[in-house]
Symmetry: C2
Subunit: 106 residues, 2 copies
């Protein structure tokens, strides 16, 4: 079981970061506002958690102008996609181990 738990990525234990990654897995890119609405979180929380993901090299940022206003959108790096997939695999293994009707299979 330890091997499975070791593959749970500490960074993705946070609910907001988990949500950001999940959202970016199914959307090529999302901007700040849309992400905030989707996750139902505050500006500060979203901003600092994106920064964390960015510093880990999991998320990349694109800043541009839409008319006169700045627009910041986010997407996964290939490393981010891989890391998150590994995390999901670990969670799935844990769930499977738990779902089995008998003794643990982990």
């Amino acid at each position: 079981m330890k091997q499975i738990i070791d593959h749970i990525n500490k960074c993705f234990e946070n609910r907001t970061r988990l949500g950001i990654m999940a959202a970016l897995m199914v959307n090529e890119s999302i901007d700040f506002k849309a992400l905030k609405v989707l996750l139902g979180t505050t500006d500060g929380n979203l901003s600092s958690n994106i920064s964390t993901l960015e510093q880990l090299g999991y998320v990349k940022v694109k800043k541009r102008f839409i008319g006169k206003a700045t627009n910041t959108s986010y997407s996964l790096t290939s490393g981010g996609r891989k890391a998150f997939q590994g995390h999901l695999d670990a969670l799935e293994a844990l769930i499977r181990g738990v779902s089995v009707d008998g003794k643990e299979t982990n």
Copy 2:
């Protein structure tokens, strides 16, 4: 997506507590030593995280003697089992949303 994330239980975001709960889902009861080996964690970490789960009413503690030595074993309360199942369901929903090859379904 927010509704799914809201069902992720904050308490189970911690890797050690997640492991304790998963282990107790498939084992009627486990003692301190076995849990420590299974999770590969330290005494202090295990102890304080079990306390947290206990205070939330998710885990119950049974202390007894085996020969002259004390033995402390842990098991889930029905509330704990239900809370963890709810958490797993939320994770599964998130994974499914992410696994779908298209746009998000959450």
